[in-house]
């Protein structure tokens, strides 16, 4: 800006018939009011609004990811802790705060095409699916459905809704409910991540001398693996990529069950953990090599 003023001053001191000055003048006129410039000014506003929204969503997504990860860590403690109920309650509270963040996302996306900003929020949603399904598995030993997850992501503003109810028409009511739908792909990727957590849980529970959980887990993981194999390459590229990791997790769990079965009968229970940990180390080394 200051540069432009400088040339303006320069121009004034010069004679008017100086051709360079003329051209400058023309350019200045053009800069301020031509139709093209006006159009681009509105584009600037539109693009900036869009980028700002995107940035806000990325930030929310990061927060959702971090809180979900913390929830998962918390839930892992359940294998060793005697007070399982307490941990479940705490995780529920944590997930509620995550849902508050998701509500903010839903509010940001109000009236927008969700897929336009999908890339900003997708990582957070996947992590959330992972956390929720992990908690659900610990509680019920089954897989949470995508419908169930989406049901929890419908938000209403209770107090405001009452205020507007007297003058309720359909539009007004919609203004105070938000919902966010987890897409099928986000759900699948979240579930694929869940299998990694289940594998860790399996190893942990062996460490604690729990012999039943590993078998339950291997059963459950096998179901999920079958499901993913059924989908195969119908899904997008990311899903097929996760299938490989899923296979590795399943192999580890199955090997763990195998070891328990073979060695479990002959080794005293308190030594099981040692046998098992050496076994997994070998598996890890193999993975590192390949």
């Amino acid at each position: 800006m200051s540069g432009k003023e400088g040339t303006g001053g320069f121009r004034k001191r010069k004679h008017d018939n100086f051709p360079h000055g003329h051209r400058r003048e023309e350019k200045d006129k053009l800069n301020s009011s031509s139709a093209v410039i006006m159009a681009f000014k509105s584009f600037q506003v539109e693009l900036d609004t869009r980028h700002d929204k995107y940035e806000r969503l990325v930030k929310l997504s990061r927060d959702i990811t971090i809180e979900s990860k913390r929830t998962i860590f918390l839930l892992h403690r359940i294998t060793s802790a005697p007070n399982g109920e307490e941990i479940l309650m705490e995780s529920e509270a944590k997930l509620d705060t995550v849902r508050q963040k998701i509500k903010q996302v839903a509010q940001e996306l109000m009236g927008e095409d969700m897929y336009q900003y999908h890339r900003a929020i997708s990582p957070g949603l996947q992590e959330y699916v992972e956390a929720v399904s992990f908690q659900y598995f610990i509680k019920t030993r089954s897989l949470v459905s995508i419908e169930e997850i989406n049901r929890q992501l419908v938000f209403t503003e209770e107090d405001k809704e009452e205020e507007t109810k007297p003058s309720s028409d359909c539009n007004n009511k919609q203004d105070h409910t938000w919902n966010l739908k987890v897409t099928a792909v986000d759900y699948l990727l979240g579930v694929a991540d869940l299998t990694g957590e289940l594998m860790r849980m399996c190893i942990n529970s062996v460490g604690n001398g729990d012999i039943d959980t590993p078998f339950e887990l291997s059963q459950f993981l096998r179901h999920i693996y079958d499901g993913f194999s059924y989908i195969g390459n119908t899904g997008p590229y990311e899903v097929s990529k996760k299938l490989y990791t899923l296979k590795q997790s399943l192999a580890k769990v199955e090997n763990a069950c195998y070891t328990l079965k073979v060695r479990g009968s002959e080794i005293p229970k308190h030594m099981l953990a040692d046998v098992f940990s050496t076994k997994t180390e070998i598996i890890d080394q193999e993975d590192g090599l390949s």
């Binding site: 093209v36 693009l47 459905s145 099928a184 179901h223 079958d226 499901g227 059924y230 119908t234």
Partner: protein, 226 residues
């Protein structure tokens, strides 16, 4: 619901998704064909003989845009209207190309920059997202950037064809475009990459103008301007 049942439902959803994509791809292929035809018609202006019958070429190109409108209309009904951005990448490229072609036609006719609303009218689509199949602002800007590089080529070829006044007009136009783009705060994405190419087009045209003025060739063309 059992795990396998859940996965069967999900697989069904994914297959339905793929079917939609397949349908979209078919229409987009036809659109690309039409776009190529329009481009062929308009490329005629670069030939020395082409400068006389620009209006005729534009007329012909506009007829082709009728086909584009029907094809875009059939694309609209291939997917739910509120999932535009879900399948956006399938038609993004061809839509940018069509914006360029429409902008080129409008430039050749009136030597002005086509507005976003005018493009949507030519293509038979909506201006706002709320109303259905619309033109994304980034796609519009990309198309305009393609126009800039095409015009820098046209400036060179018009000199070859002996039209010394056109480069001056193109120069003014591109300069305006450049100052317009400089108003935008672009992110580090594909649009930004395309924008980075604009300065070479500006430079090329300035060179042409310089060549003309140093030889006094723009005197008769520019008339009393200097």
């Amino acid at each position: 619901m059992s795990v396998s049942q859940m996965f069967i439902t999900l697989q069904g959803a994914l297959t339905a998704d793929q079917d939609i994509r397949e349908e979209i791809r078919k229409v987009v292929q036809m659109l690309e064909q039409t776009a190529r035809e329009i481009l062929t018609v308009l490329q005629g202006v670069h030939q020395g003989s082409g400068f006389q019958d620009i209006p005729k070429k534009c007329q012909k190109a506009r007829e082709h845009f009728g086909t584009v409108r029907t094809q875009l209309a059939s694309l609209k009904i291939k997917f739910p209207a509120d999932q535009y951005y879900r399948f956006h990448e399938h038609w993004r490229f061809v839509l940018q190309r069509l914006v360029f072609l429409a902008a080129f036609v409008v430039y050749l006719e009136t030597e002005t920059l086509v507005t976003r609303e005018a493009v949507t009218e030519i293509l038979g689509i909506e201006a706002d997202r709320e109303k259905g199949f619309h033109l994304d602002i980034e796609d519009y800007l990309s198309g305009v950037l393609t126009l800039a590089s095409e015009l820098s080529r046209l400036a060179v070829n018009s000199v070859t064809a002996g039209d010394y006044s056109r480069p001056l007009r193109i120069s003014a136009f591109i300069n305006e475009l450049d100052s317009g783009f400089r108003l935008l705060n672009l992110k580090n994405d594909s649009l930004r990459k395309r924008y980075d190419g604009l300065k070479y087009d500006v430079k090329k045209i300035e060179e042409v103008v310089y060549d003309l003025s140093i030889r006094g060739l723009n005197k008769d063309a520019a008339g009393g301007e200097k």
